[in-house]
Symmetry: C2
Subunit: 198 residues, 2 copies
């Protein structure tokens, strides 16, 4: 069985790996850097992980798990009679909060996913699919209620919204305004667009 300190070091390795993958990408980040940041030597990593691939795989999984939890938590907290706007607003808030405030795992998931080895991507894809299905259900409920616009393909709406939310990690600047205000602005734009009503 794993000892206390083993778990500790393993988690710290994952944390530092996530941070480095987030800011420098997967291929650019070396095991020596991850080891340095954690305070151990590169060779010692192999006590905790079998390969660099296994590290990125776990970082990706944790990232999507954190975002998924943040979203579900907010949606589940709503009352039974919540409107479509309230439900999707809660999901947007959860997603942005998970991605922007919660940190390195979810950001690494967005930024480094495209750079991960194909084997890792393909294994991780089921987790992404599950999260995507969750959103699909939210949007579909809104359509059934007649709340979503009917002149656009639903898949395009969903992909556009989710990828736009994801990409905020590339440009969101917390020094230019609170996350609260930011989430509000993004929600307004997604809900009703950038133009004044005609």
């Amino acid at each position: 069985m794993a000892s206390e300190s083993e778990i500790h070091t393993r988690d710290r390795l994952l944390l530092e790996a996530a941070r480095l993958f987030r800011y420098h990408g997967y291929a650019q980040t070396t095991l020596r850097e991850i080891a340095d940041a954690t305070g151990i030597k590169a060779g010692s990593i192999y006590y905790h992980f079998d390969s660099k691939e296994d590290i990125i795989a776990e970082v990706l999984d944790r990232g999507i798990q954190m975002v998924g939890e943040a979203v579900r938590q907010r949606v589940d907290a709503l009352p039974e009679n919540a409107t479509s706007r309230e439900i999707i607003a809660a999901a947007i808030e959860g997603h942005l909060w998970g991605v922007l405030h919660h940190g390195d795992f979810s950001s690494a998931n967005i930024r480094a996913y495209g750079q991960a080895p194909v084997a890792v991507k393909s294994r991780h894809r089921t987790a992404r699919r599950a999260y995507s299905d969750y959103w699909h259900k939210l949007f579909n409920d809104a359509i059934v209620k007649g709340d979503l616009r009917k002149d656009c393909n639903l898949d395009i709406i969903q992909m556009f919204v989710l990828s736009a939310l994801n990409w905020t990690v590339e440009w969101y600047n917390p020094q230019k305004g609170s996350l609260r205000v930011f989430v509000g602005d993004i929600t307004k734009i997604v809900f009703d667009g950038v133009f004044e009503r005609r």
Copy 2:
């Protein structure tokens, strides 16, 4: 002066490099792969370029140049009395067309920019800034005319729209519908949002 075939090989190298950077990223793409795809040996690349950095630098520059030209062309073709919606619709169409239809250079610009060496990024940043300023002028004109929503920060609107448009390269699937319809749907969503009017 450069001979015919020199220009030819050099351009083919850039094209293959753009394609590989787009799909595999900068660090993952090796000079041997670029050479293979072009049909020459790795060492021969150095007759045309001084370093791998110089290749990505030129790929990035061409990418933003192509998109910028596509956008300006459509906006300039509009009549004097065009509305804000018509102007920004033309810019969106140009941007999406440049990014999605025009191919590997613009997509590589979006995908591989974050992975490029800092020296390259910093040199390329002025080109990005110029393109961003162009969009800023379009949005600002719309604000002056009172057409844009006033309850959101303009910088957030601009970053949201541009990054959302950029990220379509990650998920747009030409087999699921024509680019024409796609551009129309995206424009509707950006202009008026995903919800039906209240």
